[in-house]
């Protein structure tokens, strides 16, 4: 069940990334090709209206950002100021890391709830009642976006959905940390010596933001290792 959620999350943000790139690229190409006088093709191109592409790109990226931020909690990519706590004893660091994770859960949970209320009051309630054939009274139908004319409550629901997911991820990471003392981060301990060091493998580019560089808290186990040495 959780695996499915993980996969869905990954697929969603990858597709949004690819989709937004393609849309923007196509609209640029379209703008220039439509200016070239090729019979038929030009007429056909001119008949396509891509003025909505910018708005769609922005919406896709905001969704990508909200769900990607949740994914980022799972991969441990969010940067912080860890200069201080990385110098504390394991016991104290443990406390601070747990506080940090719970604060993250608290903030995202709050934002999710506030966002949900906003979405509900700005059209979702109306849509819900209409869908069930009930009277809407004086509830607002809610605004729509300028180009695509979508209901903004649908677009904005990225905030509650993404934030709640992020809240869930923070709690998930906190539970795992309390149990095992490990935080999600990229394991670059296996990286071989200088001679074999190659450019990052595809899909490892983000390791530059996931090193143990005082921008992220260290695992409890690192301290143990140092002691053993």
């Amino acid at each position: 069940m959780l695996k499915i959620l993980d996969r869905l999350e990954e697929i969603l943000i990858s597709l949004l990334m690819a989709g937004a790139t393609l849309i923007t690229f196509v609209s640029v190409v379209h703008r220039y090709l439509a200016g070239v006088a090729i019979p038929h093709l030009q007429d056909w191109l001119l008949s396509i209206d891509l003025s909505w592409s910018q708005e769609l790109t922005v919406i896709m990226f905001v969704w990508m950002a909200k769900f990607g931020a949740a994914y980022g909690v799972r991969t441990g990519i969010h940067v912080g100021v860890d200069v201080l706590i990385n110098r504390l004893s394991d016991k104290n660091r443990f406390k601070f890391i747990v506080i940090g994770l719970l604060a993250g859960a608290f903030f995202t949970g709050t934002i999710g709830t506030l966002g949900a209320r906003f979405v509900w009051e700005n059209g979702a309630h109306y849509a819900f009642l209409t869908a069930r054939g009930l009277a809407t009274g004086d509830l607002p139908e809610g605004p729509i976006t300028p180009d695509l004319e979508w209901h903004t409550w649908m677009v904005y629901s990225a905030v509650p959905l993404g934030s709640w997911l992020m809240c869930f991820r923070f709690l998930q990471v906190a539970v795992a940390f309390i149990r095992t003392g490990e935080l999600p981060h990229h394991d670059h301990g296996h990286v071989a010596g200088l001679e074999e060091e190659a450019p990052p493998k595809p899909g490892e580019e983000d390791r530059i933001y996931r090193m143990e560089d005082d921008l992220h808290p260290r695992d409890l186990h690192d301290g143990d290792e140092e002691e053993r040495k």
């Binding site: 100021v81 990052p200 580019e205």
Partner: protein, 428 residues
């Protein structure tokens, strides 16, 4: 009063080690809850509308383009081209490292990515050629920082978003300082190589040079596409970023074949991961600067600066010290997003050019990336060379000193950054 409260809370929250984005958000939330009557739902929506801006979308596009380009093909050919051009001088491969970093910086918007792309290929080659490890590591760590000065640059997009300056003009303003810094780093390299008599490469013939140029043409063309496109007004910076993402996908998969089709989803996922992290900081920083404007803090600070103030020279000095100090704790994008909204209004009141101020901030960020405790470049280089941070810090200092000299130059000599955009008519 409220200034001290807001910043006190922010600093305390950040020092607990929670993500910067969360500390920013919690500060705003706490403050609005306890001190003001602002409808709190509007805060949640700011998290959406804060990045509902087409300019910001250049960031994910540039990250995606950078990730397609990091896989060797483009970087290796650029290094070869640079080596045929400058490898026979003192400094040899080290000098080609500086040139290759500058070239790669012109297609990549991130410094650590430049260090990875050039360093992971060049450093092993330098060791084989008989250079000391420290020499190579020092060059790559600092030259890699050119990634955010020479356009395109993710940090510049962040600055222009938080201060409403033109991305295009800022990009153009980075060109000349970038070339000057590259020359200065090159000079330091040349000087030290001559002093210690490091090996040089055999001089390449013009035929070899031309061949290396032709092989690296696909990467070099991207510079023309991005800069030319923005300058001529063919694309907005965001569109240029999207075009360069598609272009880099094309050369990585079809021309240089560094990547197979099966790798593409992973690259997309990782780009999304990095972009989302940065966009999340942006949204929360937007909230934070909303709070500050609401409390009139930048305005009050600006007035105070003008009255008591040490004037332009003194303010620039204070700004530099503040930015360098922040570089000890935070990563570049967060610093720009938090400090630009505070420093910018003061700079405007003092009559400092917004573009010049932006370039100065970016150079500060470059310095911050190259020294401990949190310099990202340093950690990336340490990952590649397997050198400890302390040893690397020693290795870096001649070039870091060069960068500090350059910082003073950029700070107090505005024409260096303003000449090109003014000549091109992008600022008046």
């Amino acid at each position: 009063m409220s200034v001290a409260l807001i910043f006190g809370l922010l600093v305390v929250l950040m020092l607990t080690g929670m993500p910067i984005s969360i500390s920013l958000g919690l500060t705003v939330l706490t403050f609005l809850w306890t001190m003001t009557q602002v409808p709190i739902e509007s805060v949640a929506m700011k998290l959406f509308t804060g990045i509902e801006n087409f300019e910001i979308m250049a960031i994910p596009f540039f990250i995606l383009a950078g990730n397609f380009l990091t896989h060797g093909g483009v970087a290796r050919r650029m290094i070869r081209f640079a080596t045929t051009m400058v490898g026979h001088w003192y400094g040899g491969l080290g000098l080609s490292g500086v040139v290759a970093c500058a070239l790669f910086a012109a297609i990549s918007g991130s410094s650590p990515a430049t260090v990875v792309a050039i360093g992971s290929i060049l450093l092993p080659a330098m060791m084989k050629a008989g250079f000391p490890k420290r020499f190579g590591a020092g060059i790559i760590t600092t030259s890699g920082a050119l990634g955010i000065l020479i356009p395109p640059s993710i940090v510049m997009v962040m600055y222009s978003v938080s201060t409403n300056t033109s991305v295009g003009a800022l990009f153009m303003a980075g060109v000349v300082p970038g070339i000057v810094l590259a020359s200065m780093l090159g000079f330091t390299t040349w000087y030290r190589a001559r002093k210690f008599d490091y090996p040089r490469q055999p001089k390449a013939t013009w035929a070899e040079r031309f061949k290396a140029f032709r092989e690296s043409i696909w990467g070099l063309l991207l510079i023309v596409v991005v800069m030319g496109g923005i300058y001529t007004g063919m694309f907005t910076p965001t569109e240029a970023a999207a075009v360069s993402a598609v272009y880099s996908f094309f050369i990585a998969v079809f021309v240089y074949k560094d990547l197979g089709f099966k790798d593409v989803p992973k690259v997309l996922l990782n780009s999304a991961n990095m972009s989302a992290m940065l966009l999340y900081i942006i949204t929360n920083a937007v909230l934070f600067s909303f709070l500050m404007t609401f409390q009139n803090i930048p305005q009050a600070m600006a007035d105070w600066m003008i009255q008591e103030g040490p004037g332009v020279v003194g303010f620039l000095l204070i700004a530099n010290i503040l930015l360098l100090a922040a570089g000890n704790f935070m990563e570049a994008s967060s610093i720009v997003l938090i400090l630009a909204p505070i420093l910018f209004p003061i700079a405007m009141k003092l009559g400092i050019n917004p573009i010049h101020f932006g370039v100065m901030m970016v150079v500060n960020m470059e310095v911050g990336m190259c020294h401990p405790p949190v310099g990202l470049n340093l950690y990336v280089a340490s990952g590649i060379t397997k050198m400890g941070i302390t040893e690397l810090t020693v290795a870096v200092w001649p070039w870091l000193l060069t960068m500090l000299v350059f910082l003073a130059l950029v700070t107090y000599w505005p024409p260096l950054s303003l000449w090109l955009p003014t000549t091109l008519g992008m600022i008046h």
